[in-house]
Symmetry: C2
Subunit: 347 residues, 2 copies
DNA sequence: CATATTGTTGTAAGCGCTTACAATAGATTT
DNA sequence: AAATCTATTGTAAGCGCTTACAACAATATG
């Protein structure tokens, strides 16, 4: 390995000090040029920039991070990237962060809040400049950790009024309620729900709550047996449908906690020979790209995933820069009525 | 802000030095315990660990990065996360990296290789311990950058034999060829292709090449007008279908570069009143979860996205640890024959 | 023209760890 | 028991930047 050692020696990286020497200025000046600090004369800047070009200097991020106490990256804690609605948000978040010259560290936790807390610890240890979380369901220790470090953070996706968690998101309950009201208005009286597991998932809880509110207000509350909770997935949705079909009094409409479950439900319904929506109405939540291409196209709620990513990026960067931003920002999540819902069958 | 200043003063973070003092050992010993270095007596370890617990010490990642020259994170360059096949890979990559106590920095580049190069520069500057890239289509400068820094890296998704780019992936050409052969065997003679743009995308090129090879070998080469290149998306697939239907001699089978395009093609075909596969056969590539739930279920190629993520994580970590791993690892991408393909119509 | 003010640059002290090397203690050999 | 070797621990010099502060120059003010 001698050759390798020699190489390593010859490969002396150019340091900021070398640039300073080359430009015949102090290291502080080079650093100021690099960081676009004020009070730098044009002459000096040009000399430094020329030296940087000549030497092909690239600053060392780790040294900069240690000295400046900012790493140039934020951390995002998301349940999973295996769900396109989250990956769409992360995609737009990352793209927008790039504009602010900020990188993105990702950590997933599979809806396990203890894992989330652990991942948060790791991110903080790495020195991230800010943190993005999904929803308001977190271990209390997570909040303590963020507050004690005075670390900028923002939640997203869910935005109920919560003094602890500043956030950018949308109301999950109201659109769910409207979806149910839409079905009730179409004459449905036996509603059923296929929901994602609600543990550690306030979005799922809020949607379920919205369904419940509407059902109760209309005088036809949801009995437990007509609320099925299943994991994320098309197959899971299909299974949920089958279990609902095993009931004595079958529902005439099924409200699903997300589009993917709705796809599964719809496929299973059609496989069972049911006409959608003539014999059974189905709703989703998310408005994934496929939703409008299903047959029939899915009635759902359009979740502004891309917009959330962008606004969270802007908002968190502002907070990192010490700018106070609104504690809560509510985006629109409009109902998208398509053809998977129709009048209740008259039996 | 006086109260704040006071707080900041009182909030003196615990440093490694404080732990050393508390445990009455040297800072080097604390560091050794922290890093599970060899030659640490049990007694010392226990004392240090007790002190760490007592003080609630959390090491500073940036200082550790500067001193040790590893940051505890790798960078992944992917075209986009808006495509579920990539986000599935990233999801499994991140989860597997966690096991190795390694974080993930994400950067997307929208298939723009100049953007990719720029993003690579930024990641290197951040000090990532390794880099994952997709495919072998990159600016030459990217390779130079990686080599000069002697930075461990691995490509994925595509794995042709290439001395420059070590990689873990699958053969994109052969399954594409097999798909086309499958159609030819079913009697189809007028094949068409709906491909993703091939610029900076060797996977798309390889698949197209596979389709071509089979078509030519069977004596019915693909004329240019029967090769449509469109951006990623269901709507884009649908549009491609319509442009193909404008041809004099319509194809009896359409090979799509990915499942999403195939969904679009299939929907447009059905909307146009065509029976799939009786009047037209359609194939995809990826085997997204929905593929088997389409009606009819989509014939496609199962891309091992999750397995790629895991193997890339293990492989890159090994390289970072100085372990030599195979230059190239080929995974299986099996054909999944379903009902969207059938005998050519006899007209 | 002396003085205050503002703008520009340099000096040098960290930032909080890791690790080469030195020192010491303990075990083993002869 | 002296000599040798090995396992353990400590000392201190960085890692490559940023930034508080000082110094000085240029400009404005009275």
């Amino acid at each position: 390995m001698e050759a390798r050692d020699v190489m390593n020696k010859e490969m002396q990286r150019t340091l900021l000090e070398d640039v300073a020497r080359e430009a015949e200025v102090s290291t502080a000046s080079v650093s100021r040029v690099l960081n676009r600090a004020p009070h730098v004369s044009k002459r000096l800047r040009e000399r430094v920039e020329a030296a940087i070009d000549r030497l092909g200097y690239v600053p060392d991020g780790t040294a900069r991070a240690l000295a400046s106490r900012r790493i140039g990256a934020i951390g995002a804690l998301v349940p999973t990237l295996d769900n396109p609605i989250f990956s769409a948000m992360i995609d737009s978040l990352e793209r927008r962060l790039k504009r602010h010259d900020c990188r993105l560290l990702i950590a997933t936790y599979r809806y396990d809040l203890d894992d989330e807390l652990q991942a948060l610890r790791t991110l903080i240890q790495q020195g991230v400049d800010g943190v993005v979380l999904v929803g308001h369901d977190h271990r209390p220790a997570a909040l303590t950790l963020l507050q004690r470090r005075q670390l900028p953070f923002l939640t997203c996706w869910h935005a109920e009024d919560d003094p602890d968690w500043p956030g950018i998101g949308f109301d999950n309950t109201a659109p769910a309620r409207h979806l149910a009201e839409h079905l009730l208005m179409l004459g449905h009286r036996r509603l059923a729900v296929v929901s994602a597991p609600t543990d550690g998932n306030d979005r799922a809880r809020a949607r379920l709550e919205g369904f419940r509110q509407a059902a109760e207000a209309a005088g036809c509350p949801l009995p437990p047996e007509r609320i099925v909770k299943v994991d994320y997935g098309i197959a899971e949705g299909a299974e949920a449908f089958e279990s609902l079909m095993g009931l004595d009094r079958r529902p005439t409409a099924i409200l699903c906690g997300n589009d993917t479950l709705a796809f599964g439900v719809m496929l299973a319904a059609q496989r069972a020979g049911l006409q959608v929506p003539r014999e059974i109405s189905i709703t989703g939540f998310d408005d994934l790209p496929q939703a409008r291409f299903m047959s029939p196209p899915l009635t759902t709620v359009a979740v502004p995933a891309g917009e959330i990513g962008r606004q969270v990026a802007d908002g968190l960067i502002a907070r990192i820069d010490g700018v106070t931003t609104p504690h809560r920002r509510l985006l629109d999540a409009p109902l998208v009525l398509r053809e998977s819902t129709g009048p209740a069958p008259t039996d």
